[in-house]
Structures are given as structure tokens and as C-alpha cells.
């Protein structure tokens, strides 16, 4: 995993340089050390299988499906899914938008003028420009955050994040946001596509060629970086029984010699003069397979031969299915899960020629996915937390905002995510975020004595003054608009249930809900009708008096709910 000096260079270029608070030096966090998993979680184990779920399809199941496949849960989306069967709902979630989104735009002209692209126009096909590189870098990452905020009712953005984490690259290291955008667009277009095709695309992707030095890999100076990660992280995995060896790394590196980057067209090309034309002999793990060396332009085809060989390994489908499981269900894979869930998923993947969609369909329609043990056990990633709050609470960014203002808001959220140890576009390294692979801690890595108070501070802020990120407009939770999404908000019991359902991963006990209602929604009064009257008065006459009465109480109720540990589960 070489880090080119470009990073240092870029950090000087980037005007808006920020501190990377990736607080993952957990050895120093004693609170985290004390409570985090020391081994696999004990407790109830499930024996549910990948067989289709036949139980009740209620709001609880619909919310569970949405929590895992979208960012946050919107009441409107729950209503949509409740008009369907479980199977139809999953089909809907797995139907991706046909059109690609508007690409990232020049939002930075007021800071650094772009020599070729005016404000509000996209720079993704513009010439490389060293003065605006840093600006484009933030433009891209802000834009991506915006895609999450504006996602439709499909799994697309969660899959893009999944692929980004699986085939991790760092925008800052790649050093050219145009390349990062191109890879991102490929993930979006192939979100539920063919895994093997995605691996090939990634192998020849310009940003990956930069990130793992593939473009420096030549017959005279082979660079094993990508060849190693291709097998260790992207396809075979380290596995339960490490299998291939260094000879396989060396052989794969030779296969991949000669790939170069055209920085003008932002594409890769094959330079046969740099290619190692010898035969590449793999070990017994691959059955002693030989990728026959080819000369001239035919050398470019060796990569297909290599991938065909790799994809014949039974470890490939198991590896990617475990990764999917950990991103969409839970991190703990015990022997029962391996046998009942992972292995059948892998079989479906192979049976479908490595198309991802049938695997996701089987998983999301399975009895295992709706098992009690699969629900609410996912610790929200920082972006699930931040973007989810925006979407669930319907926090709006004014439509009238100019491009630079909209991006400023998106950038604020991105930046806050970074301070919670999830810097979108810049994972810690090629392994992606440790929450998805670091055993035995996994998801618990997100929560430590730095990040948890920061998460709580964000919720407090969004219920208070909000933030404006220099736009002059405070972006915050409109508690009344959120409450209006509740179909029976005048009933304080129903309203508390609604808030709990959408804000907390786990339900509260009846006693806790009553205490919350009495102390906050009823301000210490004991009769439900005080709230009912207040809300009804507000609806019929939303003057300042009536508005403030309900607003104060809703704010306090939600502040208390969002300070609960259950708020971090989904």
C-alpha cells in the first residue's frame, strides 16, 4: 500500500485543509478498551436460514429493511413499502434508478477560479488543474454526501458505499477527483451488477492504478501492491485458511504489468512494451494454473485469464458474501451463520454467474434477515447517523440555495462524519473501515469516548441552533414538520411511539415511554389531553403562541430521545 508523496503536496494545495480526526488509535481510549468486544458476542444464537421469510410484514419489518438498505428511514418510504408484500418491497429496494445523477459541479469559483469550468458546471471531464485540485476534491466528496441525502427508495447508495469500502481508495492519495468520480460512477452504475465485471473494472481503473501503484508495475520493475490486495482483500480474502502464497502474488503482478494511465482522457491503457510476456505459473492453490504470456496488444487479455482463474476458487464467493453480510446484517459470523447463510449465498452467487442482485434478493427476503437477532444490532456508521438524521427528520436544504451554498451544507455533514471517524472517500487504508473487518470489535469501533459525545452534540445542535456552514441560513430539525409526519400526532402516546420507532433502534418499555411523555410532552402535567389540546390548537391556528407551545415540548422530547443509546442502533 504505497502512499505517494502526492498526498503531502496536495495537503499544501488544499486551502481548506482540515484535521483528519480518524480517532482509531483505540489503544489510548480506555473507555473503549474496557467495554469493547473481547471475543465474539455470546448469547442467543439463531438457526434461521436463507429460506424465504413467511412471517408478518408489518412496519417493524419494513423499517428494518429500510434501515439497512437506505440511509435513515423516511416515514413516507415506510408507507410505500406497507402497500406492498415483503417480496415486492425488496424488489422495489433492489430496483435501481435508471439515470445517473448530475455529476459534481464547480462550487468553488469564488474561492479559486477554475480556468475552464464556470460556477455550477461540472468539472468531471475538464482538464486537470493543479490550482483547483483541492477544491474539486471537496466538491466530489460533498457531492457524494449529497447523493446519500437525496437518495431515492433503493439500495443504490448503500451499495456504492459497500463497494467503496470493499475496493477502498483514498481520494487524497489518488490526487485527482476526476478519477475518483469515475470509479464512483462505475460503482453506482454497477451497484447490484456482476462482481467479476466490477473486479475487472476496478483492476483497470485509473484511480486504483494510482492508489495501489498499478501504473508503476512494469516488466522491469514489477510492483506487487495491487496483485496482493486483489487476492487478499478484493476476491479470495485472507480466509479461514490462508491459501495462496507469495508466488501467486508475484505471478499476478506479472500478469498486470503494462497498464498505464492517460490523464487527459482519465482512462487506462495497455502498453505492451512494459508488459511481462513470460508465462505466469501459479501454485497448487490455483491448481498450478499457468497464465500464458502474450505479446503485443494481446497481453492486455491476460487479466481476463487471471480473473477467470481466481473466480474459479470457491473462496471468492464466500469472501464477498461475508462482506455483504457484515454490511447488511451483523458482523458476527459463527459456524451456524457460515453454514446456513454464507454458504448458500455463495452458491447463489456462483449459480448466477457472480451477479450480486440475486444474492441480495435472497438475503433481504430471508427468514434470517427478519430474525429478531438480526434486528437493531447494527451500530449506525457515522454517515448512517448523520445522513439518516437528515432523511428521517426531513431536514431540508433550501431549494433556492445556489450551488456553492448547497455544497457547503453537504460539506459540513461530510466534515462532521470525518470527525466521527468516517471520512467519505478517504477510508483509513485499502482495507476500508475497520468496523467492517476488525475482529472482534467490528461495529463497536465507531463508538468511543470521543465519537459518542460528538454524535450526541450533533443531535443537540440540530435540535437547537443548527448550523449554517457560512450560508447564512440555519439548517436544523424542524420538530413540527417532523411531527406532522405522524398520522395521529394529537395522541401523545401514539406520538411517542412514532418518535421511538423512527429515532431508536430498539423499542422502549411502556414505563419509559410514559415517563418520557409525562416529563417532556406533558411538561410534568398528568393528563394526555393537555398535549392533545396543544397540538389541535396548533393545527387549527398556527400562530406564534400555539407554535411555540408545541415546539418547546417536541424539542425537549426529541432531545431526550436522541440522547439515548438506542438512537445509535439500527
Amino acid at each position: 500500500m504505497g502512499k505517494v508523496n502526492r498526498r503531502e503536496f496536495l495537503e499544501q494545495v488544499i486551502a481548506e485543509k482540515e484535521t483528519h480526526t480518524q480517532n482509531i488509535s483505540l489503544d489510548k481510549d480506555q473507555v473503549y478498551q474496557k467495554y469493547v468486544n473481547k471475543g465474539a458476542p455470546s448469547g442467543n444464537k439463531t438457526t434461521s436460514t436463507l429460506n424465504p421469510y413467511t412471517g408478518a410484514w408489518t412496519e417493524e419489518e419494513a423499517i428494518h429493511l429500510l434501515r439497512r438498505t437506505t440511509f435513515g428511514v423516511k416515514p413516507a418510504d415506510v408507507n410505500t413499502l406497507m402497500g406492498m408484500t415483503m417480496s415486492q418491497a425488496v424488489d422495489k429496494i433492489l430496483t435501481l434508478p435508471t439515470a445517473a445523477p448530475t455529476p459534481p459541479l464547480n462550487n468553488y469559483n469564488a474561492v479559486v477560479a477554475d480556468p475552464t469550468i464556470p460556477l455550477g458546471q461540472t468539472w468531471v471531464n475538464a482538464p486537470y488543474d493543479s490550482t483547483t485540485t483541492g477544491q474539486r476534491y471537496y466538491s466530489f466528496k460533498s457531492w457524494w454526501t449529497g447523493q446519500m441525502l437525496n437518495q431515492d427508495l433503493s439500495i443504490q447508495e448503500k451499495m456504492v458505499l459497500f463497494w467503496h469500502n470493499h475496493f477502498a481508495t483514498e481520494v487524497l492519495t489518488t490526487g485527482d477527483a476526476r478519477k475518483s468520480y469515475k470509479l464512483n460512477a462505475m460503482f453506482r452504475a454497477n451497484a447490484l451488477g456482476n462482481f467479476k465485471a466490477i473486479v475487472k473494472n476496478v483492476t483497470l481503473d485509473p484511480s486504483m492504478l494510482v492508489y495501489l501503484n498499478g501504473y508503476l508495475n512494469t516488466k522491469t520493475a514489477p510492483d506487487e501492491n495491487y496483485a496482493r490486495e486483489l487476492q487478499e482483500l478484493f476476491t479470495i480474502g485472507k480466509g479461514f485458511t490462508p491459501i495462496y502464497d507469495e508466488d501467486d502474488i508475484k505471478a499476478a503482478a506479472k500478469v498486470l504489468t503494462g497498464w498505464r494511465i492517460n490523464n487527459t482522457t482519465i482512462s487506462s491503457y495497455f502498453d505492451s512494451t512494459k508488459h511481462d510476456t513470460t508465462n505466469k505459473i501459479f501454485t497448487s492453490y490455483y491448481g498450478g494454473y499457468v497464465v500464458v504470456g502474450k505479446t503485443g496488444s494481446a497481453g492486455a487479455n491476460e487479466v481476463d485469464d487471471l480473473l477467470d482463474m481466481i473466480f474459479k476458487s470457491g473462496d471468492v464467493p464466500l469472501h464477498i458474501c461475508r462482506k455483504l453480510y457484515r454490511c447488511f446484517v451483523y458482523y458476527d459470523i459463527d459456524s451456524a451463520t457460515e453454514a446456513n447463510i454464507i454458504a448458500p449465498m455463495a452458491q447463489i452467487l456462483v449459480n448466477n454467474n457472480f451477479n450480486i442482485k440475486p444474492v441480495m434478493e435472497a438475503l433481504l427476503k430471508s427468514e434470517h434477515f427478519y430474525d429478531i437477532n438480526s434486528k437493531a444490532c447494527f451500530i449506525r456508521t457515522p454517515l448512517d447517523y448523520l445522513v439518516g438524521m437528515f432523511r428521517t427528520m426531513n431536514i431540508s436544504i433550501p431549494q433556492t440555495f445556489t450551488v456553492d451554498k448547497t455544497y457547503a451544507i453537504w460539506n459540513y455533514i461530510r466534515s462532521y462524519g470525518s470527525s466521527l471517524a468516517m471520512d467519505l472517500g478517504d477510508p483509513p487504508n485499502v482495507s476500508g473501515w475497520p468496523a467492517f473487518y476488525q475482529s472482534p470489535d467490528f461495529y463497536e469501533i465507531w463508538i468511543n469516548s470521543t465519537t459518542l459525545p460528538k454524535r450526541m452534540a450533533f443531535a443537540d445542535m440540530m435540535l437547537g441552533s443548527g448550523f449554517s456552514a457560512g450560508t447564512g441560513t440555519a439548517i436544523k430539525i424542524d420538530v413540527i414538520e417532523f411531527t406532522k409526519l405522524c398520522p395521529n400526532a394529537s395522541d401523545p402516546n401514539y406520538l411517542i411511539d412514532f418518535f421511538v420507532k423512527y429515532c431508536l433502534g430498539l423499542p422502549l418499555s411502556t414505563a419509559s415511554k410514559k415517563a418520557l411523555k409525562d416529563s417532556q410532552l406533558l411538561s410534568g402535567q398528568t393528563s394526555d389531553y393537555y398535549w392533545t389540546t396543544a397540538w389541535t390548537n396548533y393545527l387549527s391556528n398556527p400562530n406564534t403562541t400555539n407554535t411555540n407551545i408545541v415546539k418547546t415540548r417536541l424539542t425537549n422530547t426529541l432531545m431526550e430521545l436522541l440522547r439515548l443509546p438506542e438512537h445509535h442502533l439500527c
Partner: protein
């Protein structure tokens, strides 16, 4: 000279203790030195707000003994028999609910200040709106999202929460005992309070209830997050440390009294050394629309139990405060969103009303009663309410100016207007005179106040010469209003503004040995 101006030119803090090597107390009578001593004493002062949820029936708490005929006509079914009313040490006109023996003793010990007829112009009868008004200190028709104590904390600890906790202020700015934090401590940006349900178990869990974690993967992760949350509350450790350092020393705390339970926590935290200046506790159940007393014995029942809870809890708390040696720096005030109607219901309760008394407790208070017994109609109907005598923000102004020693400009800023600072605290320098006959005030607060063109005030003469004068904030004589003989009894004078500029003034009365001062404000 304003206190703050003086302090600004004081070169060293040491001056506040010593002048030319001589302790300040030797010069205790010198006004400047008193000010200096006051500002020193203000450090470490604590206010405990006791919120009485639901609207407390003030007429059955602080009972106007001279109004029994009116009371009998209006509320015979809940009226405390006159011979059961607890007497106060320095007046036979006003007494307390028979359940408040603890408060009665504290009153005799000079630890209670009662302000009569507290409300605000155009009072609101909705629990929610009235609570918001009391929390925010806004006018009846003004909508303010921050709380008055939140704004005070904003001033005292600028920039919070950025860079907090700090070396100077390692502790929470405010602590609310119970579930969640309320608007009273909401500042411009954030709520400055943290909520503590239980001192030994620190989750932000609703009213001390911790739902058990389910036996699932979700339960496993929930438990992990709970632990981290418990350990990383910004102020968790300082609170635990403070709680561990001190135990309650009083044996008087009652059981089955949630207010006492809350005050026990407050006492431990103060004694344990927290610098937190504000605590908020609460007691609910005051919304007594029906059956507020026992049907046959009006001295017992729902409201009597509430009175007893307040009395026993507060009495024990100040006993504890004395034993733990912090009582000189703590004051507690009651606060309820409104009083109740003069006329009772057939069901033995009372509907939402307006003005009611506010009690402030502690050794620092000016002992006695501010204002007079309410004027009640001979036979009150359902529309009649206790009239307002004192604006609640006059008490807030006293807390800010005389207890927390804030510059008057800052006080006005926080309260968004200038209110007469009621002489709730000894440090106000104005004594109050709870009299035995007629009105208990030598000089009553002028009304309206603030005023634009003219204002009126009542005063009591004990016979002889009465001189009433207006001084400006710098002590300059502006006008002599009267200087002549007045017969014994109450008199009223209306004055015009004339050429007085907008600002704060003092109205002083001298009548034989009686001297009384009121602050009044002129606005444009």
C-alpha cells in the same frame, strides 16, 4: 458608582479581603466595602429552582388570615379552618398551610422570603404556555425560545459548550435532577444543563428507569453503547467524584418524598464541591381541579400532602446544608406556572388561576413578606382572580442582581427589560417590613413600573412627617415628591414623569424611624 465599575478598577483581587492590611469586616458598614464583600461572597453561590408542576393553589399555602370572610364565601369546601392555620413569627395577618411546619420554623429563623401576588400582566392560563413564560421570562405575548437561566449562563460562561469543561469551570453549568432538561436552561445555542436521574447510575434514562437489554445481538450492542455513554458523559466523572466525596448529613429527610430525594442529590453535589451554580428540581401533581382536600377534613388530602412534601424536603435540605456547611451560599426558590382560582369547584378543587406567592429560602434572604395579602372580592365568582402585585421577573432580577451579583445592565439584558429588583435578598440593602396591621409595606412598589408618563404608589404612614424623594442611579436627588404630615394609614400618590430621563431611579420614604426604598424605571 456601579458595582461592576468599581470592580473593574480594582487592581487586585486581594483588595476584596484586605484594605491596608485590615480585614474588610472591620469596615463592614462602609458601602463600598460591603459591595466588595458581596462580590466575593457571590462566588460559589447556588440557586435551586423548585418547580411545582400544575399550578399551585397559593391561597391555601400562604393564607391571608384577614380575608376569611371572602375566602369562606369563595371556597368553603376546601378552606383551611382558621384555627389550624400556622402562625408566622412576625405577623398575625398571614399564615401557612398546617402541613408546612418546617417552613414555619424556617420563617421564624429568618430563612424565608415570601413575595405576594406574583404573576405578570395579561396572565396565561394554559399550563404549557404559562410554564414557557416562567421559564423564558418573556412577556405574556412575546415568544422566546431560550430560558432566563440559560441566558444567565450564556453571559457568565460565554461560548459554552466550546472549550468546556475548562480549568475554571470543570463542572456542568446547570444540573436538572430527573428526566431530561427543560427550557429554563436553554441558552441561545445549546441547553446548558445536564440531567441526572440517579446519582449512582448515570444513563440518560427516563426517570431512573433503565430498560433491560434484550437477549439478542441488539442487546449486546446496546449494553456496549450504554457503558461507553455512562463513561463519557462530559461531566460524568466530576459528578461521580463530587457525589462520592459527600454524604447527606441530615437525619430529617423524609421518605416517600420525591422532592426530598432530588434535594438530597443536590446537597451531595454541592457539598462534594461542584461549582455548578444552578440546580433544577421538580414536584408534580399541583393541577388540583378536584378533590384537592379531603372531603371532611380540609387540612389533609392531595394538596396538604404536596405542602407537606415541600415543607419537609426544604426543611431537611437546609438542615443538611448547615451540617455540610454550605447553607450560606445556597438559595432555593419555588416556581409554579400559575396560582389557582379564588372560587373553588363543587368537586372540591380549583381551576387555573393567576397570581400566587413565591417562596425563596435560605440564610441569604430578606426574611419576611414582600407585598400584602391579596385583595379579594367579597364574594368571588368563577371569573375572579388573585390580582398581581409583583412581576415574577422582579424576583428573577433579585436572583441575578443580588444573589448572583450581576451588573444591572446584564440583568436587564437577560430579562429583556428593566424590572424593579425586589428586595428578596439581604444583600439588596433594602429591608422589608412585614407589618402587623394594614398593608405591611411602608412604601409599595409603584405601578405601572416601568412607566412612560406617570405612575402611582401607595405608602403607609404611622402618623407624623413623611418625606418621599426620587434619586437617580448615582444617588443624586432628582425630586422631592412630598415632605409633610400624613395621618396614620394608607395613602396614594400619582406622579408625572416631567423631565426624568429614561433609566433607573430610587423612590425613598422616610417616616419617623421607618425608611423604605423602591427601585423604579422610566422608559421612553
Amino acid at each position: 458608582m456601579k458595582r461592576r465599575d468599581f470592580l473593574k478598577v480594582t487592581p487586585a483581587a486581594g483588595l476584596a479581603f484586605m484594605i491596608n492590611g485590615i480585614p474588610v469586616s472591620t469596615y463592614a458598614d462602609h458601602p463600598l466595602l460591603q459591595m466588595m464583600a458581596k462580590s466575593t461572597a457571590a462566588t460559589g453561590r447556588v440557586l435551586v429552582v423548585i418547580q411545582l408542576n400544575g399550578g399551585n393553589d397559593g391561597l391555601n399555602m400562604v393564607i391571608p388570615i384577614d380575608k376569611y370572610s371572602e375566602l369562606s364565601n369563595a371556597r368553603s369546601n376546601i378552606l383551611i379552618p382558621q384555627n389550624k392555620v400556622l402562625a408566622l413569627s412576625n405577623t398575625n395577618l398571614t399564615g401557612l398551610h398546617p402541613s408546612m411546619t418546617g417552613i414555619q420554623k424556617m420563617y421564624a429563623d429568618g430563612m424565608v422570603n415570601i413575595t405576594q401576588g406574583v404573576s405578570y400582566p395579561d396572565p396565561n392560563f394554559s399550563h404549557f404556555r404559562a410554564t414557557d413564560i416562567w421559564f423564558s421570562a418573556s412577556d405574556s405575548k412575546v415568544y422566546e425560545e431560550s430560558g432566563w437561566l440559560g441566558r444567565y449562563l450564556d453571559k457568565r460562561f460565554p461560548g459554552y459548550p466550546k472549550d468546556y469543561p475548562s480549568t475554571d469551570m470543570p463542572d456542568p453549568l446547570a444540573i436538572q435532577i430527573g428526566s431530561g432538561v427543560s427550557m429554563i436552561t436553554q441558552g441561545a445555542n445549546v441547553n446548558s444543563a445536564m440531567a441526572i436521574a440517579n446519582i449512582n447510575s448515570f444513563y440518560q434514562i427516563v426517570n431512573n428507569l433503565v430498560d433491560p437489554a434484550p437477549p439478542t445481538h441488539a442487546g449486546h450492542e446496546l449494553t456496549f453503547i450504554r457503558y461507553v455513554m455512562q463513561q463519557t458523559q462530559t461531566y460524568n466523572q466530576v459528578i461521580k467524584d463530587a457525589a462520592a466525596k459527600a454524604s447527606n448529613a441530615s437525619s430529617l429527610y423524609p421518605t416517600n418524598n420525591s422532592l426530598a430525594d432530588q434535594l438530597k442529590i443536590v446537597a451531595r453535589l454541592i457539598a462534594g464541591g461542584l461549582k455548578t451554580p444552578i440546580y433544577v428540581v421538580s414536584l408534580g401533581g399541583f393541577d388540583t381541579h378536584s378533590a384537592q382536600t379531603d372531603a371532611t377534613d380540609t387540612t389533609i388530602g392531595t394538596h396538604a400532602t404536596l405542602m407537606q412534601k415541600i415543607s419537609e424536603a426544604v426543611y431537611a435540605f437546609f438542615d443538611d446544608a448547615k451540617l455540610l456547611d454550605f447553607h450560606s451560599r445556597v438559595a432555593a426558590m419555588t416556581m409554579s406556572e400559575f396560582g389557582r382560582r379564588i372560587k373553588s369547584n363543587a368537586s372540591g378543587g380549583t381551576d387555573h388561576g393567576s397570581a400566587a406567592p413565591v417562596m425563596v429560602f435560605g440564610p441569604g434572604v430578606n426574611p419576611g413578606i414582600i407585598g400584602s395579602n391579596p385583595i379579594l372580592p367579597a364574594s368571588a365568582g368563577t371569573a375572579d382572580n388573585v390580582p398581581m402585585q409583583n412581576d415574577f421577573r422582579g424576583i428573577y432580577a433579585a436572583v441575578l442582581a443580588d444573589w448572583f451579583e450581576l451588573d444591572i445592565n446584564d440583568v436587564n439584558d437577560i430579562l429583556m427589560n428593566s424590572f424593579p429588583v425586589l428586595p428578596v435578598f439581604k444583600s439588596a440593602g433594602t429591608s422589608i417590613n412585614t407589618q402587623e396591621g394594614g398593608s405591611n409595606e411602608a412604601l409599595e412598589q409603584n405601578y405601572p413600573n416601568p412607566f412612560i408618563n406617570s405612575t402611582s404608589f401607595r405608602f403607609n404612614s404611622d402618623g407624623g412627617n413623611v418625606r418621599i424623594q426620587i434619586f437617580d442611579a448615582n444617588g443624586r436627588l432628582i425630586r422631592t415628591i412630598t415632605d409633610q404630615q400624613y395621618s396614620r394609614g394608607q395613602h396614594e400618590i400619582t406622579i408625572d414623569r416631567n423631565s426624568m430621563a429614561a433609566g433607573n431611579y430610587f423612590l425613598t420614604l422616610t417616616n419617623n424611624k421607618t425608611k423604605s426604598t423602591r427601585r423604579m424605571t422610566v422608559v421612553d
